[in-house]
């Protein structure tokens, strides 16, 4: 193209520019082989840690469709960290907790995680929420060597492959073991039920289905899937009705609990509902029900009465539980406006576990040290969880079990003791660790293990 130009001035300018650049050039590169990835942990000065502070971060949907309920989790975690800070922090260090909004959009998750890791230089990511969102950043966090603790999602990918993601730890029971325990309960107690599955069409539904089918493959008459974001679940519920399912095992988020209930009302479909833990928060579903139906259905904590579900930490429906009493105290002292909710309890519970991890890692806090400490002592940690964690060098999966409950008057009534298991063919057994009967220490702050 340049040859067509009559005047050679632009060419001269280009050449001059190139000359200028090369004149300021720095000569050859010393080959240190390292692509530039710094901060792989180690060393006495871990990023985000100073003499008197530890900076950690998290991504949550604070705005948008996924925000109701989920945006309360970080307020709970923050209240607990403030509570610990007020008692002197962890090894004299105050915890600074930064929360960024990703609107449940993986593109945003990627950019806010960049901000947290590269700009704010957080020591660790704690409780980042969502399967599609967090899977956008899990490689990045592991490449950078940032501990990625207690992902707020039950997908298997946070813990079943520590070789590939050595810095990532799950927290809540994964969806597969939840599916297994539900499947076994149904197979033993309702052997004649015609089972329909209502599944979210991603890891959540897939992992759960894998677990359920281990026990119920014969009994399942239909499996319907919905795509998160599409609010019309009419065809799926009608499909379950047409297949004659009289027990629906639903693995969905709270909005879809409300939607499926409304559609079932419309169709005159009355099966026994069994919602997995994620979608069964009675208060939130109640308020969603009255909002979606524009007041036609009366919401309230009683809206899910008669529904079966599971639980793995004590919630606000058990005000006498010592852990819930601690959470209530923390919320009264350090919380924002509003009531203590199950989502805030969830946030406080994983904040508690993170404080335990920090204590286990000791005074000389490093990123690799934190991961090693968690692998070493993680399985023995006390805490609000009803069953112990499964953390070890081979598994970064979280809580190992849960119990089946039926909701009556907005509160869960136990149908089984706490059952524990692991992914794959592992047996389901009654938990004998005594985790569900323990109480927090007097101070409300964990002691170093």
């Amino acid at each position: 193209m340049r040859r067509r130009l009559h005047r050679s001035a632009p060419l001269a300018a280009v050449l001059a520019g190139a000359l200028l650049l090369s004149a300021c050039g720095a000569g050859g590169r010393s080959d240190d082989g390292d692509g530039g990835d710094e901060g792989g942990g180690g060393g006495a000065t871990a990023p985000g840690v100073t003499e008197d502070s530890i900076t950690i971060g998290a991504h949550f949907p604070l705005t948008g469709v996924a925000a109701p309920g989920y945006n309360e989790i970080p307020t709970g975690a923050k209240a607990y960290f403030d509570y610990v800070n007020a008692q002197g922090g962890v090894n004299g260090r105050q915890i600074e907790y930064l929360v960024r909004d990703d609107g449940y959009n993986p593109t945003n998750t990627s950019s806010v995680t960049n901000e947290l890791v590269l700009e704010e230089e957080i020591f660790a990511m704690v409780g980042g929420l969502g399967t599609p969102t967090h899977s956008a950043v899990v490689d990045f966090l592991n490449d950078e060597g940032v501990p990625d603790f207690f992902v707020s999602s039950g997908s298997l990918q946070w813990g079943d492959d520590p070789e590939n993601a050595p810095y990532t730890f799950g927290w809540q029971p994964d969806y597969e073991i939840e599916g297994k325990i539900i499947g076994q309960y149904v197979a033993e107690n309702m052997p004649d039920a015609k089972v329909g599955l209502f599944l979210q069409d991603d890891d959540f539904g897939d992992d759960a289905e894998k677990g359920v089918r281990q026990f119920l493959d014969e009994q399942i008459v239909a499996a319907e899937r919905y795509t998160s974001g599409n609010t019309d679940v009419g065809p799926q519920i009608a499909g379950l009705q047409a297949a004659g399912a009289d027990l629906v095992l639903a693995f969905n988020t709270p909005s879809y609990t409300a939607l499926s209930q409304l559609v079932a009302l419309k169709l005159g479909y009355q099966p026994q509902w069994f919602y997995s833990n994620v979608g069964s928060d009675a208060d939130l579903v109640g308020s969603l029900l009255s909002r979606f139906s524009e007041g036609a259905v009366e919401g309230g904590s009683g809206s899910l009465d008669g529904v079966m579900t599971t639980e793995y930490i004590p919630g606000v429906d058990q005000p006498d539980d010592p852990w819930v009493q601690l959470w209530q105290k923390v919320w009264d002292e350090h919380g924002e406006k509003g009531e203590l909710t199950n989502y805030r309890v969830y946030g406080m519970s994983h904040a508690y576990a993170f404080v335990q991890a920090l204590l286990a890692a000791g005074e000389d806090l490093t990123r690799d040290g934190l991961v090693e400490a968690m692998e070493e002592v993680g399985a023995d940690l006390d805490g609000p969880q009803l069953a112990p964690f499964r953390y070890s060098a081979d598994s970064h999966l979280g809580i190992s079990g849960l119990r089946v409950v039926e909701i009556r008057d907005g509160a869960g009534e136990d149908l089984t003791p706490v059952l524990v298991t692991d992914i794959g063919d592992a047996e389901i057994a009654e938990d004998d660790s005594g985790q569900d009967g323990d109480a927090p220490p007097e101070s409300g702050v964990p002691e170093a293990p």
Binding site: M1, L5, H6, R7, A9, P10, A13, V14, G17, L21, S22, C24, G25, A26, G27, G28, R29, D32, D34, G35, G36, D37, L62, T63, N71, P74, T75, K78, V99, R100, D101, Y104, N105, P106, T107, S110, S111, N114, E115, V117, L118, E119, T131, P132, S135, A136, D139, F140, D201, D202, D203, T227, S228, G229, E336
Partner: protein, 379 residues
Amino acid sequence: MATALRRGRTWWAGSVLGRHLLVALLGLVVVVVVLESASDFRNLQLASMAYLGIAAGGLTVLTGLNGQISLGHGALMAIGAYTTALLLDDRDAGTPLPLVVLAAVAVTLLVGAVVGAAAARLHGPYLAGATLALAVAVPGIALYFKEQLGGEQGLRVVLPDIPTWVLDLAFFVTGQDLTRSRYVACLAWLTLIVTFVLLANLSRTRVGRRWRAVRDDEVAAELAGIRLGRARVSAFVVSAAAAGAAGAMMAITVRLAAPSGFTITLSLTLLTAVVLGGLGSLGGALLGAALLTFLPQVVTDLGVDAGLSDIQAAELAPLVYGLVMVVVVLVAPAGLVGTARTALLRRRLQRAGTGTSTSTSTDTAAPTSTSTTSKGTTT
């Protein structure tokens, strides 16, 4: 001094390509200096700005110069991004990056040609509706072909290792080792510069004049021998190709191609970037992209510093963005760059005295384009 300037002006004003290349070279130098001094995080933010800028640049050519509106550019970006993700699915995928980007552009270009052929038959709201359907449908395709396209969780993108010669070159020029973030930012900005040079050049040639003629008066254009359909399709195809390049850069920057990244919001976001900056102006598109990238974070940080809770601060960002949008439309209806340019022209005219100067700027388009599309539909 003044004569020297004027003489200096004549040699480069003589050739459009030469002038654009010179601006591009200056831009390149500025980009290298800025990327070099910015932190890793800023580099990634600048990369986001670049991919939004590329897509907005393509859209501003379509809307500003050809008078077609598209609410589906987010979907075209998705096609570019998914092509990239399929080619870069693991570390030893082996496809060289320039080829990947070209493939993304080519696939999007094909889709753009098909959509453009349909779009060329439509006007105003009908065209908006058709492209809107595209924006809604394309993410659905990724959900339907779950096995191949990863469903809701999308496909991960693995950036291949940086070639050694690039590392050497980067060290030679800057004296620092090239980090991955900086590499991504350099790629994105290089693509932006190349795309903008091509777009700017194209809009100054016969093709661009045809686009404008079609935009301004269809009947007159047809009388002058311009085939309307061909002009419209070519504008759409060029614009789609830019969106494809933007999608490729987005996939590389975000390391993921997932349907939730390409919702209708993205398409509308691009349109707002174009409107904020000024229809038909590439500089405006870049300015709009900069606002989109930096405003939310700045506002959120200000909110947190002012003592708002995290949730309130997060809600502040879209509010302020909306307010900025309203203010710009009220105060500067031709967009920021468009209005600034009109003001500059007016002042120059005043200084030169009325009547002597006829140096018209070709790109100030916003008000005329909207009035003429409605004129066009009456035929």
